[in-house]
Structure formats: structure tokens, C-alpha cells
Amino acid sequence: MKIKLFANLRAHAKDGLVHLTLPSGAAVSDALAHLFDRIPALAEHVVDPGTGELLPYVNIMLRGRLIRDLEGLQTKVDDSDELAIFPPIAGG
């Protein structure tokens, strides 16, 4: 699957893109685990090291839907999916 990184997270991967291969039945949490295996420095910007939950205001989209509106980190993903990860951002 493809993971797209934005804002200050982009610096951790060429063009802000990471390609992963996940086992069937994987969830967003599995995708993140694979991602952090590949790029360990990303983890501290995305999840709480103690709880493993997303840091406040970090948003992850699966095909444009915020995972908080789906099943959170347990949302199922497959190899054709795209995840987009955004650090805390706001504007107007």
C-alpha cells in the first residue's frame, strides 16, 4: 500500500511517499507498525509511545476519510489502499 506523508513528516521519505506490503486482514495500526519499522524517526511525531494511540490532532486519512470517523487504528486496509498522514495542522 502507499503511505503519503505531509508537512514536516515529508522530510522523512523521498517525495513523502512510502510503499509497504501488508498481510491480508491488516489494520491501520499494522500499517503504522510497518512504517515505523522502516522509518523509526517518524513514530514520535505520530503516536504516543506509551499508549500507541495517535497524538492529539494528528490525522490519518484512508481514501480521504479520517480514520477517527471509521474504526480508528483498527480500520482494515488492503494493499491497494492509500493512507495519508498529517501532523497537527490548521489554517483558514
Partner: protein
């Protein structure tokens, strides 16, 4: 007892007679409407809702709030309030920088301008006194040249509010600009200045005159100010040099809205822009950002100054906001950053609202495709766009039609449905198909298409103060009402919208209470906001606006979105019914009972 915070000094300028009178602020009005937007709307209402926007009788208010220019974080906003020549509604449009603070330091809560000068005129506000001066030597100049000329004469530390050629020529979306390229862009307040022959306002004020609380409330004020500052410094969204807003500016939003499929492009025929990344805050920061200016009492520094160092589009200007990147970019099918920076600079110097300009250009591109124009205007044609921006400011050729704004021009060209506007004002950069609540916000905004009346995006996308699902309609009416009422209060203080990303009614009410001595609770702050929102609605009702005007462009209700919101349309009617019930309005009209409940009448 004198209220703290306020200068307790308003200037009433009659340009027809060439006179200036002064008055204090009535205490009961301060309590009910605070200042800034609220008090300005009250003054415009009392001036008579039926006034013609470009007539001498229209009242043009330059307003501060009670915390303006104080140490309260992000308290550098100045509200321009008047009847809009673009929409026919009451409007208020706020600029950042230091002009608002200097106006307070110069001894004013507001400058209220009526009449029409016989010859071009500018004002000087200093030490509690306003004087009128001949502006014939600067009439016709762009904003930058006007600022330079007036600072040479009145000192380099003066703030200068100015209109450019667009305001002089009554372009319906002309802006008031200041020396930092900050704009009161929306609603055509610059055209009201042009109609009055008012070219500029010079403001000379010293920080030593910064508003302070009474001695008895100093500790309370210091605590309230520090609490607010701490919230901003540590807030996930506002933290300096850490939060995305500070690092990339407002244009950090482009990628997340585009990813959601809620980023209107090609005049809203699509809601995803294939080249969105190219015009995002990340891309501008990498290629063109050279400086990060600030406003008064703001640690966030969201402004991003750009420089194109050489070539056809050589320019240095600020600030490429999310809205501007979208309107001149995605809406027009343009993804080249350098001409976008150049066109932003054109808008700043001519004194044009970049949102309305971009949406108007997008409309005329579609009109051209539909063979409604003699001239060919192709999608993404930067040279043509730049030429049309100039033609609009100077009202030449097709530009004379575009000067009416997207809606007015579309009507003239024969197809109002291709204007992405509400109540005659262009929508901003969030697609109401992909984000349901903001569509209700556009439709019910009292100043026409607008995101900052009720910024539900904070909840529907960023997840503050609580997260809601952007795709659903349930709960959006009550969510919007909260945002609309809170923002009406903060616009009256007058603090930056971005303070609300880390502070709430509790912090804001505490700041106003400590500085002024008015014991305002968070609940009362929300009630004051509701009062202001209803007064604006009442003003509009008296101008014939009702539920028939609380609509969205047909496209958003019938043409499915694309990208990651594929298939979605706005469910406005469902939300609108619930919204009216919550507001206590009947078909968009404020009832007498509601007016009495809120002590408006």
C-alpha cells in the same frame, strides 16, 4: 466608572461637511456589543438598513475592540464594517498587522465615516484627533506607492490604510489594505471608501498608550493574559515553529482538503485538484517563502512572505494564504506558483479581494468555455489571468464586467449558475459537498459566502474543539451555531480567529472581563455573540433577505463531488431546517420574540 480597555473615544467624520465630532462609547452598548464587529454592526444598523452602499449616506466604520493593542495574544485585528456593495448585506472584514493596535494607541475605539468628500481626501488619526487632508496627489496610486508617500510625510512608524485603483473605481470587491499587505478584503469595503473619495487613513500611535486594566484588576488581567498565551504557545495547532499553521502558514490546509476531495477546482466542477501539492504550503515553503512576518501580540507568525527572484513573474509580496492559493490556483486550474505570487501582488497593490478575484476568473473561464464571452479565457492561462486582474482593477474591457464580482459578472454574462457565490459573494476554499457543515455555514452567513462566520472546518477536519465526521449532517446545525456565536464575540474583542484553535469562550471572556471590568461570563460571551449574529440577520431581513437567500450554488446540490468525496452532494436542506429551529428563525427571518429575548429591540 470608566471601562478599562476602551479608549472611550469615537471619531465621527463627515466628509461632505469636512467636520469631525467625537463621542464616548455608551456603556450599555459596550456591554451588549463589545466593540469591533459587534459595535460596528450596531452603528451601521442604527444608520438605517436601507441606505445605498455606495451613497454618501452609508456609514463606513473602522473599529477596534476593547482588547485591541493590549498584551492579549493575537489582539491586532481591525474591523471594517459597513453595508456591502457586493452583497447588499451588512459586512465586516478584518485585517491583521499593527494598524489596529496603532489606532488604539492613537486614542480611538473607532473612526465612523459618512458623507462624500468633494475632492480626494485622506485622514490622519493621532492623539485622539482626526484631521482631513488633500489626497489629490496620491489619488490614482497603487497601495504600495500610497503607503510610501504617506509614510514619507507622516513618519515611517505610521500605519496606513489605503485603497488602490480598484477602490477608486468602485470595484465591488475592492479591499482596504495596510502597510503590511494585510487586507480587509471581503465585501467591497474599499469601494465604499472610493465612493466617499476617501483614499487613505494614516494612524500614528505609540505603544506607550497601550490599554491597561485598572490597578485593582491588574493581577486578574495578567493571569488571564498569561493563560491565553500559554494555551497558544502549547496548543497543538498554534505552537510557534511547531504547529503546521506556524511552520507552513494557512496554506498547510491544501493537502488535507484535497486529500478529502473537498478542494473545489475548475470553478467547482471538480472537488479534487490533481496538482494540489504544487500549490500547497509545503511547496511554497520549499520554493518561494523568504520571511515569516507577524501581527501585533502574535507568537504564531502564520504570514509567509514570498519572493520570485527573477524572470517574468519577479516579485516580493505577502502572504500566500490558503484561500488565495486556492482561488488563483485550483479554481482556475493553475498550478504554477510563480505567476500566482505575482497575481497575489497585483491584487494587493490594486486593492482587490483575492478570493473574489480568483473565483471571478474561474467563472469567466467557464463562461468562455460556454461561449458566453467574446474573449477566450482558457483554464490556467496565467498571462490572461494577470491581464484580467489589471483590467478588473482599472475597469477596462471585460474587466469592467468582472469588477462586479463572480455573481454580478455571471448575471451580466447570462448564466448566474456558474458563479460559485452565496448572496453575491464568492465562496472560499472548502467544498460543501465533501464537508457538510461548512456548506450550511456558507448558506447562512450574514455577509455572503464565507468560512470565517462559522469555521466548522476546525471540527470537521482538524478535530477541534471536538471531532465530527465531515460526511454527515447530524449535529452540524448546532456545531455551526456555536462557531458563529463564538466568532461574533471574538470578532468584537477583536482577536484573530486562530486564537480559537487553542482558546475558548472561557479564556476570551476572562480577558475582556479583566481588562474592561465588565463581569462577562463565558455563557454571556456566547449570548453576546448570538445577539450580534441576530442583529446582522435582522439588518439583512430589512433589506429583503430571507430563507430564499440561504442557499448554495446549484452545482453543490446536484453535481457529485470528485476525488475522495466522489458521489457526494451537499445535504443543505436537511441541515437548514434544524438550523432555523435552533436559531428560532422562521424561514431565515428573525422573529420579534427572538429580538426581544436578545434585547435587540
Amino acid at each position: 466608572m470608566q471601562l478599562g480597555g476602551y479608549a472611550n473615544h469615537l471619531a465621527h467624520i463627515d466628509l461632505t461637511k469636512g467636520t469631525v465630532a467625537y463621542s464616548p462609547i455608551a456603556r450599555d452598548l459596550a456591554r451588549k456589543y463589545i466593540g469591533g464587529r459587534g459595535l460596528g454592526v450596531k452603528f451601521v444598523f442604527d444608520n438605517g438598513p436601507q441606505v445605498e452602499a455606495l451613497s454618501p449616506d452609508n456609514l463606513l466604520c473602522f473599529m477596534n475592540g476593547p482588547v485591541t493593542g493590549s498584551p492579549v495574544s493575537m489582539s491586532g485585528r481591525l474591523a471594517v464594517v459597513t453595508k456591502s456593495p457586493l452583497t447588499g448585506t451588512v459586512t465586516d472584514s478584518h485585517m491583521g498587522g499593527f494598524a489596529a493596535a496603532r489606532l488604539r494607541w492613537a486614542g480611538f475605539d473607532g473612526l465612523l465615516v459618512k458623507g462624500r468628500a468633494a475632492a480626494p481626501t485622506y485622514l490622519v488619526a493621532e492623539n485622539g484627533t482626526v484631521t482631513l487632508h488633500d489626497a489629490s496627489g496620491i489619488w490614482g496610486l497603487g497601495v504600495r506607492a500610497t503607503v510610501r508617500a504617506l509614510r514619507e510625510k507622516h513618519g515611517k512608524d505610521a500605519s496606513v490604510l489605503a485603497i488602490g485603483p480598484a477602490g477608486e473605481r468602485l470595484v465591488r470587491f475592492a479591499a482596504w489594505m495596510n502597510e503590511d499587505d494585510r487586507a480587509s478584503g471581503r465585501g467591497g469595503t474599499g469601494a465604499v471608501g472610493g465612493a466617499k473619495n476617501l483614499k487613505a487613513i494614516v494612524i500614528i500611535g505609540d505603544r506607550k498608550s497601550q490599554p491597561k486594566p485598572a490597578d485593582a484588576r491588574k493581577a486578574e488581567f495578567d493571569a488571564a493574559q498569561k493563560t491565553g498565551l500559554k494555551a497558544i504557545m502549547e496548543g497543538g495547532l498554534t505552537a510557534p515553529n511547531k504547529g503546521g499553521l506556524s511552520v507552513y502558514g494557512t496554506n498547510v490546509l491544501t493537502n488535507i482538503l484535497n486529500e478529502a476531495g473537498a478542494f473545489p477546482s475548475f470553478n467547482g466542477r471538480q472537488s479534487h485538484f490533481e496538482k494540489g501539492y504544487e500549490i500547497s504550503g509545503e511547496a511554497f515553503k520549499e520554493h518561494l517563502v523568504v520571511k515569516e512576518p507577524v501581527c501585533h501580540a502574535c507568537p504564531v507568525a502564520c504570514k509567509k512572505e514570498l519572493e520570485v527572484k527573477e524572470g517574468r513573474w519577479k516579485v516580493r509580496t505577502e502572504s500566500m494564504e490558503y484561500e488565495t492559493a486556492w482561488s488563483l490556483g485550483a479554481m482556475c486550474g493553475l498550478s504554477d506558483r510563480e505567476p500566482m505570487a505575482y497575481m497575489l501582488d497585483q491584487c494587493n497593490d490594486y486593492g482587490l479581494d483575492t478570493i473574489e478575484m480568483g473565483v471571478t476568473l474561474a467563472m469567466v473561464m467557464e463562461a468562455s468555455e460556454l461561449k458566453l464571452t467574446d474573449e477566450v479565457v482558457n483554464w490556467g492561462d496565467a498571462e490572461k489571468m494577470s491581464a484580467l486582474i489589471r483590467a478588473t482593477a482599472y475597469r477596462e474591457g471585460l474587466g469592467d464586467t468582472l469588477a462586479l464580482g463572480a455573481y454580478g459578472a455571471a448575471v451580466k454574462l447570462g448564466n448566474p449558475d456558474i458563479a460559485m457565490s452565496v448572496k453575491g459573494q464568492a465562496i472560499p476554499a472548502y467544498d460543501p459537498r465533501g464537508v457538510q457543515g461548512i456548506g450550511l455555514g456558507y448558506a447562512t452567513s450574514n455577509r455572503g459566502g464565507c468560512h470565517v462566520r462559522g469555521y466548522t472546518i476546525a471540527s470537521e477536519i482538524a478535530g477541534i474543539p471536538f471531532a465530527t465526521d465531515r460526511t454527515v449532517t447530524e449535529g452540524k446545525a448546532s456545531l455551526l451555531k456555536i462557531f458563529q456565536d463564538l466568532f461574533a464575540f471574538t470578532d468584537s474583542m477583536d482577536v484573530c480567529k486562530f486564537a480559537t484553535f487553542s482558546e475558548g469562550a472561557g479564556e476570551f471572556a476572562a480577558q475582556v472581563a479583566a481588562l474592561t471590568g465588565m463581569a462577562i461570563t463565558p455563557e454571556e460571551a456566547m449570548k453576546i455573540g448570538e445577539r450580534i449574529y441576530n442583529l446582522e440577520r435582522y439588518y439583512n431581513n430589512q433589506n429583503g433577505f430571507s430563507g430564499k437567500d440561504d442557499v448554495l450554488p446549484k452545482r453543490f446540490l446536484t453535481l457529485p463531488a470528485t476525488g475522495n468525496s466522489a458521489g457526494m452532494v451537499s445535504q443543505l436542506p436537511v441541515m437548514l431546517k434544524e438550523y432555523y429551529e435552533l436559531r428560532g428563525w422562521v424561514d431565515g427571518v428573525v422573529t420579534e420574540a427572538k429580538l426581544k429575548e436578545l434585547e435587540i429591540i
